[in-house]
Structure formats: C-alpha cells, structure tokens
C-alpha cells in the first residue's frame, strides 16, 4: 500500500460536528424502535471491570451478569463480551465457556501505555495465551503528541502481528488527544496499522466517549472503508451510562455508517453501568412503569 502521510489527514470542523450531533440528539426514538434499539445495545456491551481492586470473584460475578442480564426476561441477549485485565482472562474464559460471550482483555501497559514495546508484547501475549478473543490496546499518546506517528503506527502493527486470530481494539484515549483533528488522525493511524476496532477511551480519563468524538471516528471509519473496502468497528467506552444516550450513539451509527455496522461485530459499548439502565428502560417499555435501580442486580 502507498505510504500514508499522517501529517496530512482530513480536517475536522468542531462546530460543524456539534451541529450534526444536535440533529441526532433532537431525534425521537420511540416504541418498537426503542425496544429493538435497547436489545441491540445490550448485545453490544463489553461488560467491563478494570479496577485495581478486581478479584476472581468480581470477575466471576460480571461474567454471570453478562450471560444473565435479567432472568425475568428470558429473551434478552447476552452482552457482547466481558472486558478484564490479562490476569483474569483465564477465569473469564472458564466462566463464559459456551455462552458466546467473548473475552476481551486490555493490554499494553493499560491505561497509560507508558512501557517499552517488549513489555507491551509480553502483556498482550499473556492475554492471548490465556484465551482472550479480543485485545484492547492503548496507543502511545506521548509519542503521538511528539509527532512520532511512525512509532505509533509501528507499535500497533507489531501488536496486531502478535495476537494471531484475536481481534485488535485500539484505544485512542481521546480525552488526552486535545482536539478532534487529532482524534481523526489517530483513528487513521490505528486503522491503517491494522486495528479491527477503534475505541475511544480507557475509562480512566475524562472526557471519555462523547457523541462528537464518535462521529469523528465513524467518519474516519467510513473514509477508510471507501479507501480499502475493509470494515472497522467502533467502540465508545466510558461516560455512557444511560439508555437514551446509547440509543443516540446507535442512531448516529446508523446514519453515518448504515445497517451493516449495527451489530456487535462492528460496534461495542465499553461500559459498566449502562446495562442496568437499558434493562430498566426495557422493563419500563414492557410494563409501562418507571423502574427503580434496586430491582436490578449490580453485577
């Protein structure tokens, strides 16, 4: 492939992006469209626990939750995946066996990414060797800001080469990139380096995912698709805790990338508390009554 000059990526007009988002947030998603959307959201969630305080038990609990979102409604889907640190991958694989729920693992010195490539490779290897289906790596933001786009590109490509069949999600940590132009450029670097997914955030930095950020990433994915014919997935992570906002993400996805992206092969939500809000909305739609958090298990 022709060398891409990442110093010359397409420009983004932030006010124009906001304008477009205001069209999405003004939309009204009601009735059967809402219910269907809510089911899709559940099925797109990477149920996530990434705490220093995580334990085997905690991981087991969220694995159970991923498979049994709300047992009173047996037609509910499972989440798309469970997302944990590499040392919990084995546990998650065991717990989720046969459920179809994927195991995703953050790696590459998550969340800062401040380590040499060899350390990162070791980290990734642990995750994959333990059976992770998906690897969520972070880019080197320091190198990015110093303009060493080749380094960022090569690092992603190296990781991609090391993970075999596992799918690679590349976390841009958009909250550290400074503006939308950088988010566009980082998206391009990640995709051309081989990312299967581009993901906004670690969840450790604010702001995390926002609609404007995701729109910029979707437009990058669309241009990449136009250029190469390869579909890259998108994962907003962090900051999406209510169903209404999640529905707006889906609508933005539908209007930007179309129906082929509307599934968990190409779209994920990285979230820990979104699932319960979505469940409350589903139960509200079915019973007509507004719900209380106390009736939905935390994990």
């Amino acid at each position: 492939m022709k060398q891409i000059n990442f110093f010359d990526t397409p420009k983004i007009d932030q006010v124009g992006i906001d304008d477009r988002i205001s069209r999405i947030t003004a939309r009204s998603i009601k009735k059967e469209a809402k219910v269907k959307g809510l089911y899709m959201i559940l099925n797109m969630i990477d149920l996530t626990t990434l705490e220093g305080a995580d334990t085997e038990d905690k991981v087991k609990h969220i694995c159970y939750k991923a498979m049994h979102l709300h047992d009173e409604y047996p037609d509910l889907p499972t989440t798309a995946a469970v997302c944990v640190y590499p040392n919990f991958v084995k546990t998650a694989v065991t717990e989720l066996k046969g459920s179809g729920v994927k195991v995703a693992s953050v790696a590459t010195a998550f969340p800062s990414g401040q380590a040499d490539t060899q350390t990162k490779l070791a980290d990734v290897k642990e995750a994959v060797d333990n059976g992770a289906d998906e690897v969520d790596m972070v880019i080197s933001r320091g190198k990015y800001h110093s303009g060493d786009y080749d380094f960022v590109f090569n690092e992603i490509a190296t990781i991609k080469a090391a993970i075999g069949k596992a799918r690679l999600k590349v976390i841009l940590e958009t909250g550290e990139l400074g503006n939308l132009d950088n988010i566009r450029r980082a998206s391009d670097i990640a995709m051309y380096a081989g990312a299967d997914f581009i993901k906004t955030s670690t969840g450790k930095i604010k702001p995390a995912a926002t609609l404007p950020v995701i729109l910029v990433m979707m437009e990058a994915v669309r241009d990449y698709y136009y250029n190469t014919g390869r579909m890259v997935g998108i994962k907003p992570a962090g900051g999406i805790s209510n169903a209404k906002l999640a529905l707006q993400y889906l609508l933005l996805l539908k209007e930007t990338l179309g129906g082929k992206w509307l599934n968990n092969t190409y779209f994920r939500f990285g979230a820990s508390s979104l699932a319960n809000d979505v469940l409350m909305q589903i139960v509200k739609q079915k019973t007509g009554n507004y719900q209380s958090k106390d009736y939905f298990s935390k994990d």
């Binding site: 397409p10 420009k11 124009g16 698709y225 190469t228």
Partner: protein, 489 residues
Amino acid sequence: MKTKVDIDYSSDWPLAPAPESMSHINLKEKYDLFINGKFVKPKSGKYFDTFNPANEKLLAKVALGDADDVDIAVKAARKAYTNVWSKLSGKERGKYIFRLARIIQERAREFSVIESLDGGKAIRESRDIDIPLVSAHFFYNAGWADKLDYAFPNRKPKSLGVVGQIIPWNFPLLMASWKIAPALAAGNTVVIKAANTTPLTLYKLAEAVKDAGIPDGVVNVVSGRGSVVGMAIVNHPDVNKIAFTGSTGVGKIIMNAIAGTGKKATMELGGKAANIIFEDAALDQAVEGVINGIFFNQGHVCCAGSRLYVQESVYDVVLRKLKGRMQSLIIGDPLDKNTDIGAINSKDQLNTINEYIKIGLKEGAEIYQPECTLPKKGYWCKPTLFTHVAQSNRIVQEEIFGPVLAIQTFRTIDEVIEKANNTPYGLSAGVWTDKGSKIFNMTSQLRAGVIWANTFNKFDPASPFGGYKESGFGREGGIHGLEPYLKFD
C-alpha cells in the same frame, strides 16, 4: 477513493413514528382580517381555503381581503400612529414588544405545529429554528426602541409612519417577525399582508399582539391575493414605506409601482447562492453544510445554496458522501419529530420544481435522487442533485426554490470566484476551506450580502441579512435592520 464500495444506509432498524402532539393547538375554522385590534370580516364577505400540503386536507378558511380592507387597515394604522404609538416613549414601546416576544415563547409549541401544518416544513425546523428565531427577533428589536439615538449618532432618527409589509410563504412567521419587530421598535405602525398558502401563523401572531395589549391599530393583518391586497398596500398613498420579501419578479413590480412616490423600500428578493468546497475543507462537515444549504425547508429558501462548486480533486469523494448523506435523510410527515424533509409548500410550487427537473434532464444533466417512498397524498419532491451541468444551464442560472442542487467542478480560485459571481443575484454564498487567508480572500471577493464560511444557513436577529444586485437592498436584522424604518435629519 480507491474502491467503489458504497455505504448501505438501509437497515432493519427503522424509527417508529414520533408525531408531535396535537393537543392544545387552537385552530379556528375561519380567520378574519385583523384590523384596529379586532378580527373583522372582509368587505367582500369572501374567504379562501388554506390546506395542509402534506395531506391536502383543509385547515381553515381565511379572509379574502381587497383594496377596501387595505384602506381601512391603513387608516387604522395611521390613526394609531398619530394618536398613540408615535406619542409613546421608546421605553414603553419596547416593553410592548418585549411582552409580545414572551407570549410567542410561551406559545412556541402551538405556533410551531401550525407553521408545519400550514407550510409543510418539518416540525424539527419550525420548533428548533423558525419559532425560536421569531421570539428572538422581537426580543432583540424590543431593546432598540429606546436606544435609537445610540444606533445612529448625530442623525436624530425618527419614525416613518405607516409601513406596508408583504411576506413570503416559506418562513411566514419568521419573515413577519423580521418585518414587524424593527418597524415597531422604530416607532412605526404596520399593515402586513399574510402569505397566500401559509396565512395561519400570522393570524396567530395577531392573537398574540392582542394578548400583549399592543394598542389597537398598531399591527394590522390582511390577507388576499397579492395582485389585489399586496398592490393595494403598495399603492396606498398613506403608506410611507414598503418592505417586501419574495421573488425578484414581484419585487420589480413593486419598485415600479412606487417609483417617484418618495416611498422608502426594503427588498429582500431571490437568490442563487454558490456554495464552494475547496479540497482542503473539512469535507464531512462541508457535505453536511451542503445538505443544510439546499434541503433546509425543502429548498424553499431565498438564500439556499443551490449552486455547488467542488474543487475537482475532491469531486468524487464529495459526491459519494453527499449521495450517502441524502440516503440517510428522512422524508415524510412534517409533524413527525424525526422528519428531515417535509412537504413541498403547494401544488403550484411542486409543479414549478418538477418543471425545472425536466428542464435539467433536457439540458443533459445527470440526476440523482435517493431511494425513498413518498406519501401518496400531498406534495412531495425527493431531494435531488444534478451533476454534469454547465454554468449556462437554466437550472444553474434560475432560482428553483426547491430541493434541487446543481453541482459543478472548478480548478482554481479565480475560476470559482468568476463563476460564483456570474449571476444577477447576490444574496448569499458559502465557502468551505480550512485555510484562513483563503477564507478572507473568498469572502471579500464574493458579491453577496451574507457569506457563510464553513457553515451555511445560519440566522440570528443580530445579524444583518439582505442582498446585493437583483437580490434586493436594505438589511433586516441587527443595527442595520433598523435603518430602513427610520428617517434622519
């Protein structure tokens, strides 16, 4: 663009209907003229029908006024001017206008729904753009009423007297606010003619004027045929000023009629705006701007960006994105909150647009319309683009006033400036580039009254609006918009 792949915007996740609630919408069966603070029957005793263009259903009957009614209205306006309005202090005048602004805000939902019912525009636009701007215009101008001396230092501004105003059907209430608000702030009284296909909200505004306690005769609303009621206003000897928004053709008839009479005039006429995309633009936002530029209000917009010029190096990608975005637009019931493009305002206008589409095809242009099903009843037109057009084509030269975009390419700045200015119109223009110095070059070279750089179709009461050349003269909005309603020493 190395591949031929396209995005498929169809999905098995359609949005459910989300109709705006019709509760608390008060529509009478019949609307009488509003003269001297009262709703009065027209002298002729006749009424005309106003329809919902989205389903062709009758909405209400509206008074068919004539010259006699206009005369009564002008007399009422003169009396109100002499006896009441011109004697009020600017401060008190301003308070009345503030009151009106507030009432419009309070009744915004009702006004929005009626605007969409009567005109076919998407509720998203009447709710988020038209009606909020209407009250904003009254708010903005209200504050000027007691500050005119600061607006025109050393000129001793004075009101004109009775002003006659004629508004178009595309933004009925918004255009009424653009006209009534500065006229009242400047101390004039008003006789205003409602648009023929969309008269209802102006009569709703008359109700609000009454509710605001604005003295009788300060605002008078008449409706009827342009050739009768409109011309009666224009020709009335006791009208001091004419403010008109509408086609250049009618504007010329009016200007001819008032030649030599000493009447002041403001003309806000047609347009054929160039929207120019350079290769270094933020292309996705530019495409969104093109969409807003031409499909806003079904293209029934005098400043619509109806001529798109794309730098040749990015033509393919822009076209691909534009077509994709058009596929994702939702066309249908104007009262559905998710509708992007509503109904064409009238059967006549639909015929005009369809005629131009035929002309475009005959001129050899290539047409693109997204796949979508249009409602069976009502007046509808798919968003349309024409490629392979020439500057000399009629669809490039003439104002279509519908959702029809003509696309041409260019290579250099020189070339595109020449093409953009190559029109008798000069209302608005758009430029898309990420380079600052190029923006200022373009915005200073383009001969148009409003230039949108890296945006399009934005409006604000503080922002002067109006054209160069055959797009008219005088400004509406901002400090500049007061001047046409004043005389000076």
